[in-house]
């Protein structure tokens, strides 16, 4: 129910904002066209209707599963989203893998070695990853690894090598967040009585950390990971623009520039849907990893 209300709110927001942003006729009709032509095209695009009526038509079509047709491309929005969504998903999966494979071990290491050189180095890495804008990080990566070292392509989607730099640009932020949240949760857990008891009973430190502490500290990182993956899946506007990656982020930039309302509405609605879905999945995962939540 909450999810449905959220989606309805998003449709309202998206619809209103897209209308404020511009008018597709500005792209489609030349300066030399007549006022009558402007009005006529408005009728063809349904822009002659009152805004509330346009919104009503939009929502009714949505309920019927109709996302509409791109104003410029004249293709169904659903097909375009599917095609671009695949590209964003590929990037999201690699960046999310990086987030988990690097973020979790480094977060644990930072917590276990708290106050030491590893902890400081990892925290510095995490702070930089969160503080540096991904736009700047992307350009820096291009400058170093493409222009300077000539190891990797500067942009666009081609073979696996083209995945590396955008994955790093997106993934660094995710890794940093994961490190900080795992470290914080782990430190809380490491101070708990059950850890002291386990140590007193002579349980191996490795077992304590990976089996007892991490499992008890994992709820917050799971939430964070879920939202991180959702944001990656919906496409990073900045990183996809910098790397010319033909995903949902770049699609939405083009739709915004061209006032292609149906595409813009489709992308944002898809993003909202993914967030709602991931929130639900996260709740389910909570129950799996913490029986106390299931009982509540």
């Amino acid at each position: 129910m909450t999810g449905a209300l959220t989606l309805l709110g998003v449709t309202f927001l998206v619809f209103g904002l897209s209308r404020i942003q511009g008018d597709p006729r500005s792209i489609l009709i030349s300066d030399d066209a007549s006022f009558d032509q402007w009005q006529e095209m408005g009728k063809q695009l349904g822009l002659d209707q009152p805004v509330y009526k346009q919104y009503q038509i939009y929502v009714v079509n949505l309920i019927q599963g109709e996302l509409g047709t791109s104003t410029l491309q004249k293709k169904p929005v659903a097909g375009i989203l599917l095609e671009r969504g695949r590209n964003s998903a590929l990037l999201a999966v690699t960046a999310f893998s990086l987030t988990i494979l690097v973020g979790v071990p480094l977060g644990v290491l930072s917590a276990v070695k708290t106050g030491g050189i590893y902890d400081y180095a990892i925290r510095m890495f995490a702070v930089l990853g969160q503080a540096l804008p991904s736009y700047w990080v992307g350009l820096l990566l291009i400058l170093i690894f493409a222009v300077g070292l000539d190891w990797l392509p500067a942009s666009r989607m081609s073979d696996w090598t083209s995945l590396v730099l955008p994955t790093l640009a997106i993934g660094w932020l995710g890794v940093s967040g994961q490190i900080r949240i795992i470290r914080s949760s782990m430190l809380d857990a490491l101070d708990s009585e059950y850890v002291q008891l386990a140590r007193a009973k002579g349980v191996a430190e490795r077992t304590i950390i990976w089996k007892h502490v991490l499992r008890n500290a994992i709820v917050s990182p799971v939430t964070f990971a879920s939202l991180t993956f959702a944001s990656m899946l919906t496409g990073s506007i900045v990183v996809e623009t910098v790397f010319a990656w033909p995903g949902l982020g770049l699609l939405s930039v083009n739709a915004l520039n061209n006032s292609d309302y149906p595409i813009l509405q489709g992308v944002i609605l898809l993003a909202a849907l993914i967030y709602v879905l991931f929130s639900f999945v996260t709740d389910v995962v909570y129950m799996m990893i913490d029986p106390r939540i299931r009982i509540q």
């Binding site: 942003q21 511009g22 500005s26 030399d32 006022f35 222009v147 666009r156 010319a244 006032s259």
Partner: protein
């Protein structure tokens, strides 16, 4: 804008492909070539190869919006790609060597004795891509008629209708065009490749067979040296040399046009060899030129950057004498210093002084030097760009940077403390338009008033312009073209234009009417001079700068790339020669 003088010639004039004399020749060359250690261009073209070689060329472009493959639905911006890239063709084409027109889909043409029409002889054996058959007069007629039909979005529709243009097929390879009044712009606007208004020739059978909706998306048409192999909107366009081309086969056999939005990424791709060419923002041109394997050059016609003092809605009759109703418009604001009261000569004179003062307060050369890094020039006439500009230029149109004189004018106009204004800066045409607009605002603010700026997209601003609601200042840039200057187009169609930046003014109408009845090029020059005198004196639109288009390219790979002089689009891939 270059203007065709064909209507100025009396009697019959015949030209053939073998001994073709251009319809008119401007006296000055187009944009200058910029410098680098390895400037390309101006290299004698080697013999074109057989198409069996695979010569691939790639470039970046910031936007690959799919246009439409039906004449009446082609928007002016992306619509220009399809002929500049060499897929679709026009009757004539701007030469790469001189600012003159040369035949492409025609072999010769003849002007009617009354100067109101032309007979075009089409080239035989021109095949459409995709097996749509041979181009005939029927295709030519259909393409023109479709683009000026009632619901068309074509950019030349206003000019076509104002001249009452009618096109007919005389026989399979002969076409007749008749106007009901002379036009100094029609021939060039519709029959050359110099603007978005250019009439691209489409296969009538293709649209008839596929239907409009499918033809819209179908990329199999065209007659040019390249065929569309792929158009993935927002990602990539691939062109391949057309085996059945009616002219010289192109040297480069495959062209990849990649969408890379971010200028810094474009340059990185250029530096790493991922692409062979891209546009370069002026501040980065020196960096590119310093690379050992890269070079830069200016090309085409510079884009125009200007300030509209909106709200001037004083037109009470249209060009043809029809009374304008209702009057005044929503955006008419006589209290604005640059507008004045339409019914008071004294007030209008004060407003004129304010506009002239605003113009004199702008240090154009400083903008060229500091923002455009020298890649541009000051602009003093509204949207008149090379090559016409250099030909018609008069020193009296020069506007000095003189803030002291500007303040005196403001004082005379009743604004000794300067003027307060909101300036909207619209984006989407030039990477430095916001910087230039803000510089202009600072110059105006230096007169003493409070000048604030607001940045928004062109598409976000235009609906209010169509509705004639605005009376603020509007800074805008656009690309160069060679059709009729937009100011004249607007005045022809105002107040019914779907673009009206508050320029409903009476004074130039008589001069435009006079221009429309002229039949000699000398007379046309004389009248045009008066028109520009009028614009210069009144500053209804305040020109600021003409910004060059700068191309960066891999000189290790590209030997030369000669682009025709008629527009500001990247194109003419058939003229690329590789090392």
């Amino acid at each position: 804008m270059a203007v065709v003088f064909i209507v100025g010639c009396s009697g019959n004039i015949e030209h053939s492909a073998e001994s073709f004399t251009p319809p008119r020749i401007a006296t000055s060359a187009p944009t200058a070539i910029a410098t680098s250690a390895a400037v390309v261009g101006d290299v004698a073209a080697p013999e074109p190869p057989h198409a069996t070689f695979d010569r691939t060329f790639s470039l970046a472009q910031s936007d690959l919006t799919f246009p439409a493959m039906v004449p009446s639905q082609l928007p002016v911006g992306p619509g220009g790609y399809i002929h500049r890239w060499g897929v679709y063709e026009t009757a004539m084409k701007w030469s790469v060597d001189e600012p003159e027109l040369e035949p492409r889909l025609i072999t010769d043409w003849k002007m009617d004795s009354d100067g109101l029409g032309w007979i075009l002889k089409l080239k035989s054996g021109v095949q459409f891509h995709g097996g749509w058959g041979e181009m005939t007069a029927a295709d030519f007629v259909w393409s023109f008629e479709d683009e000026i039909r009632e619901t068309s979005v074509h950019s030349g529709i206003g000019l076509a209708r104002s001249t009452g243009a009618i096109i007919e097929a005389i026989d399979t390879y002969t076409v007749s065009i008749r106007l009901n009044q002379p036009s100094s712009f029609f021939f060039e606007a519709f029959l050359s490749n110099g603007s978005g208004a250019a009439t691209k020739i489409f296969s009538k059978a293709r649209v008839g067979t596929l239907g409009v909706d499918d033809a819209f998306l179908d990329i199999s048409g065209g007659t040019g040296p390249y065929v569309f192999e792929k158009w993935n909107p927002g990602d990539e366009v691939v062109l391949r040399a057309f085996d059945g081309y009616h002219g010289m086969p192109p040297y480069v056999t495959t062209v990849h046009i990649l969408e890379i939005k971010e200028p810094a990424t474009q340059l990185a791709a250029l530096k790493t060899g991922q692409i062979d060419a891209s546009l370069v923002p002026a501040p980065l041109a020196a960096d590119i030129a310093s690379e050992p394997h890269l070079g830069i050059q200016s090309f085409g016609i510079p884009g125009s950057q200007r300030l509209y003092p909106q709200g001037q809605f004083c037109m009470d009759r249209t060009l043809d004498g029809t009374p304008v109703q209702p009057y005044p418009r929503p955006g008419y604001a006589p209290e604005k210093p640059w507008v004045g009261d339409c019914d008071s000569a004294v007030s209008l004179e004060s407003a004129r002084k304010v506009r002239v003062a605003m113009s004199m307060a702008i240090d154009r050369q400083s903008i060229v030097d500091n923002i455009l890094d020298g890649f541009g020039r000051p602009s003093y006439l509204p949207e008149v760009v090379p090559p016409l500009l250099d030909r018609v230029w008069q020193d009296r149109w020069f506007i000095p940077y003189d803030p002291d004189a500007a303040k005196i004018l403001l004082e005379q106009a009743g604004y000794p403390g300067g003027i307060d204004a909101l300036m909207r800066i619209t984006t989407g045409s030039h990477p430095l338009e916001v910087e230039i607009g803000q510089a202009v605002a600072q110059f105006l603010g230096a007169l003493g008033g409070d000048v604030t700026t607001e940045v928004l997209t062109y598409s976000g601003n235009r609906p209010s312009v169509v509705a004639r609601e605005q009376s603020d200042l509007w800074f805008r840039s656009s690309g160069g073209g060679t059709a009729e200057p937009p100011e004249i187009s607007q005045l022809r169609r105002n107040p019914e234009n779907a673009f009206n930046p508050g320029m409903e003014i009476k004074e130039p109408l008589a001069i435009i009417s006079e221009m429309d009845s002229i039949t000699s090029s000398e007379e046309l020059d004389e009248v045009r001079e008066r028109l520009y005198d009028s614009f210069s004196h009144n500053m209804w639109i305040i020109p600021v700068v003409l910004a060059d288009q700068i191309l960066g390219m891999n000189t290790d790979k590209i030997e030369s790339w000669r682009m025709s002089s008629g527009s500001g689009y990247l194109g003419d891939f058939e003229n690329i020669r590789l090392k």
